[in-house]
């Protein structure tokens, strides 16, 4: 059964989610990947304001293709999240509540999710067309010179994702793999 969730995420919504849950996300999300994260964290380290308030928000790790004429955004499936691990804790400390991407996170990030009551989701890697169709609006809000690595504000409608790491240490990758491992 799909759980509908809306951003910004409240503590009670985050607390209700468990690894393996299928969700559909609606509302504002921020798209950022490697280079944008480097800049965000450097702003945090120097005590400057971020281009958006991360409290309660979800960052979607992605770098879209350019939109064709008439499109809101191009293909925009998730990128590998582990590359953002070194930048994640400072954002969780500022109140970030969710991240969507694909692939493993570090032990430090998984611990950070428990400490800061946040959740990590996976979207379907490689399904960029479907992901793009869930975006009702999209606008780069900073770092446009980075091209596909700009920071975007998007409005999603029923964006499908799975809870991989919940706020209690639950781990869909481990649970799923151990269920089907035969060797």
């Amino acid at each position: 059964m799909t759980i509908k969730i809306e951003t910004p995420l409240s503590d009670s919504v985050v607390s209700s989610l468990r690894a393996g849950d299928e969700v559909s996300v609606s509302g504002v999300m921020y798209i950022a990947r490697d280079a944008a994260h480097k800049r965000l964290v450097s702003l945090i380290e120097s005590g400057e304001a971020l281009p958006f308030d991360p409290r309660g928000q979800i960052i979607y790790y992605a770098g879209p293709t350019p939109p064709k004429p008439g499109q809101v955004i191009g293909s925009v499936g998730p990128t590998t999240s582990g590359r953002m691990d070194p930048y994640t804790i400072p954002l969780l400390e500022l109140g970030l509540k969710g991240m969507i991407g694909k692939g493993y996170r570090s032990a430090a990030v998984r611990k950070g999710l428990i400490e800061h009551r946040a959740v990590y989701f996976a979207a379907i890697g490689g399904a960029g067309v479907l992901a793009g169709q869930c975006m009702k609006s999209a606008k780069p809000i900073a770092y446009e010179e980075l091209g596909p690595e700009a920071l975007w504000r998007v409005e999603a409608e029923d964006f499908p994702a799975f809870v991989v790491y919940d706020a209690y240490g639950g781990d869909l990758y481990e649970e799923g793999t151990s269920k089907y491992r035969v060797c």
Partner: protein
């Protein structure tokens, strides 16, 4: 300089920058079975010299064409061909990839795995219909060129022509520009997805074959290479390959296609692993021993339980492709290069 190939006795002139002595193995020209030979002793003699890819030592003759004169191909034709390949490569996926995903859908035991596969299939169908990239990572363009030795590229620089095709294709097809100018310092996006990575090989004949691979970064980052020792044998290779896929887990967007290089040396084994990925999905190595190893590895990898997208399941890989090459008495190099399920590549012969 004239070289004699160690495994088939081929004699070839070695020109600067052109690895003539090895190309017929690396690119598999002349890959034919040993059947049809009347003289048994001749057959045995040739089978003794059969290389690791099952190719017999008969000269391949390029793409089956013979030419008396040098053929001229204008660089602009090459640019145009690369442009056209880039226009479709990330949108229209090879039919064998789709067929492999459909088979995976039938075989997958996990409901979440099947759900992921259903979305992937729907996504790939829409990509072709809308001519929109299936995945946002439209890669760095890896361009394999098999240049017939009777071809003269005229009217411009070959590498510039390839880059021109990439530049136009990535711009007009609204593909993502994912190349930075320097890996360490600045990492400024080149904004046109150039330069491409070009693998140029000379082959017999008067054709020019171009394969464009739009190689994404996520699966590429999960590659690995090991210089094993001969004592490690098949077991060592098997353990390395399976472990590499296990470590990649959900990161490489499973179900993956596993490209394996075995033999050669440090740089050749990586190239073999990459080359293995452009073989049509599921096509077996013509050498029965390697074909059996491919099937064995596929079974073992699918027993890891990683499943589609790493959510758990029985289909972690769609195929394992091995390319092998003779190697030094001291060495057993092995490399793994992974492709996600999108695996975009497209070929044209001029």
């Amino acid at each position: 300089m004239v070289l004699c190939c160690a495994c088939c006795g081929l004699t070839a002139a070695l020109l600067p920058g052109q690895p003539v002595a090895i190309y017929h193995h690396l690119f598999g020209n002349g890959r034919r079975g040993a059947e049809g030979m009347d003289d048994l002793s001749e057959k045995n003699r040739k089978e003794d010299r059969q290389d690791v890819n099952g190719a017999n030592p008969d000269w391949g003759g390029g793409f089956g064409l013979s030419c008396a004169d040098v053929r001229h191909i204008d660089a602009s034709e090459i640019a145009e061909a690369v442009y056209k390949l880039c226009m479709k490569v990330t949108c229209v996926l090879p039919p064998e990839n789709i067929a492999a995903l459909e088979r995976a859908m039938e075989e997958e035991k996990s409901p979440q795995g099947r759900q992921a596969l259903a979305r992937i299939l729907e996504n790939h169908r829409l990509a072709g219909e809308l001519m929109q990239p299936a995945c946002q990572d439209t890669g760095i363009a890896v361009v394999f060129i098999e240049l017939g030795q009777d071809v003269h590229v005229c009217g411009g620089d070959l590498n510039q022509a390839i880059d021109e095709g990439v530049r136009r294709g990535y711009s007009e097809a609204y593909l993502r520009k994912s190349v930075v100018h320097d890996p360490l310092f600045g990492r400024v996006n080149t904004k046109d997805n150039t330069p491409a990575i070009v693998h140029l090989q000379m082959v017999p004949g008067c054709s020019l074959k171009i394969t464009v691979v739009a190689k994404g970064g996520g699966a590429e980052n999960m590659s690995g290479l090991a210089m094993l020792t001969p004592a490690s044998g098949v077991e060592g290779v098997r353990n390395f390959v399976v472990d590499q896929v296990r470590k990649a887990g959900p990161n490489a967007c499973p179900p993956v296609i596993v490209g394996v290089g075995v033999g050669g040396n440090f740089e050749t084994v990586a190239f073999l692993a990459k080359k293995a990925l452009i073989r049509p999905v599921g096509e077996r190595n013509p050498n029965p021993k390697y074909a059996a190893l491919e099937e064995e590895l596929l079974r073992e990898i699918n027993g890891l339980g990683i499943g589609p997208q790493g959510f758990g399941g029985s289909v972690t890989a769609l195929a394992v492709h091995i390319e092998a090459y003779p190697c030094h008495i001291a060495s057993l190099p092995v490399a793994v290069n992974l492709n996600c399920h999108v695996a975009p590549h497209s070929t044209v012969i001029l």
